[in-house]
Assembly symmetry: C2
Homo-oligomer: 208 residues x 2
């Protein structure tokens, strides 16, 4: 097993000249991202990852262990980043529930390179797990669940009519952005088009 939490009795080497453990992990994880981006998950082998990251195969093993553990770490990383982006967008908007909701929903749609890579990795890993093993790791479900909860929260604070079924509306919105995102990845729609569609749905909801 790799370094683990190492209660490291040596507080040494914080600003070391050679990369720290965290930097090395980052370096390798980023390499995995680039590889998945244009070779798919099946192209992400120990050798290709090592080459892309400019390190030896041994080092990838050293930091991440077996292949499954590596992919799990990648999944955790992309989930953490997605969550961070979601919260970021949320806080960057004014207090209006509707605007916050909109910003949050759009954070799921692949608009720039960063979110496109994240989405690609997410889909690759998630479907791979789902298909090969029947279920995905917990982290994989955490993001959409958080999304759903956040939508519910915003809808409640929006003070919609009492006849609005908030949970169902949240499910509709969450699955909607899922589908929209996939269609953007597919290239069947542009990000602008699907955002327009999303706004259409939001308009109806907030006008109803």
């Amino acid at each position: 097993m790799p370094p683990e939490k190492t209660v490291t009795p040596s507080p040494s080497r914080p600003p070391s000249p050679s990369p720290s453990r965290e930097e090395r992990r980052r370096q390798i994880l980023d390499a995995v991202g680039r590889i998945i981006l244009d070779g798919g998950l099946s192209g992400a082998t120990f050798r290709s990852i090592a080459t892309e990251a400019g390190v030896s195969v041994r080092l990838v093993q050293y930091y991440f262990g077996t292949r499954d553990e590596l992919l799990l770490a990648v999944q955790e990383d992309v989930a953490a980043r997605s969550t961070a982006r979601l919260i970021d967008r949320l806080e960057a908007t004014d207090g209006s529930p509707r605007e916050g909701l909109r910003a949050m929903l759009i954070s799921f749609i692949p608009t720039d390179d960063d979110s496109r890579i994240a989405m690609l990795m997410y889909v690759s890993l998630h479907t791979s797990w789902l298909m090969d093993r029947g279920s995905a790791p917990e982290d994989s479900y955490a993001v959409p669940r958080l999304g759903h909860a956040t939508i519910v929260d915003h809808l409640e604070r929006a003070g919609l009519g009492e006849d609005v079924d908030i949970d169902t509306e949240a499910t509709l919105l969450m699955t909607l952005v899922t589908g929209l995102s996939l269609w953007v990845l597919d290239g069947m729609h542009t990000a602008e088009e699907v955002i327009a569609a999303l706004d259409h749905q939001l308009n109806r909801l907030f006008a109803g």
Copy 2:
């Protein structure tokens, strides 16, 4: 290359004792389905397929050629079956545009074993192609496109208000069922739940 269209000057052996070409292909394609169902696409190797179908590896090659060609044939098959199911559901309902629309949309959602297998194969193959090569084969896009067109057709015949943006509504519905289906596959929602959500959206659309 396998048999091809063979303008077969011999009209012989239509009711032969040993399986016909079409039966053999069917037999192998079904085996692929069962394998993908519980082993994922990566579990579908020539050897596993041959064993599952009860034939030799050579025979799988003989009928489908290379692995890519095999997977392409599988994709075509599942697309054809999905289309057939769509049309089936469509014709099995009375003339009401709304009911036809509803039946058609539900045909995308994995409700029984058959549609679940189809959906799994569809997602496996489509994402695999999308990731590994950047785009999927044409057949892969045909189904959602047909879905979209059919939705538009039904909405037009439904005589909704003139302020209804039919194309956008069709996009919303199509991407919605995409997302809903995936969530059912994930196990995060049951088919009943997502159908209820879908009905909610339909109600709003037809009441608006």
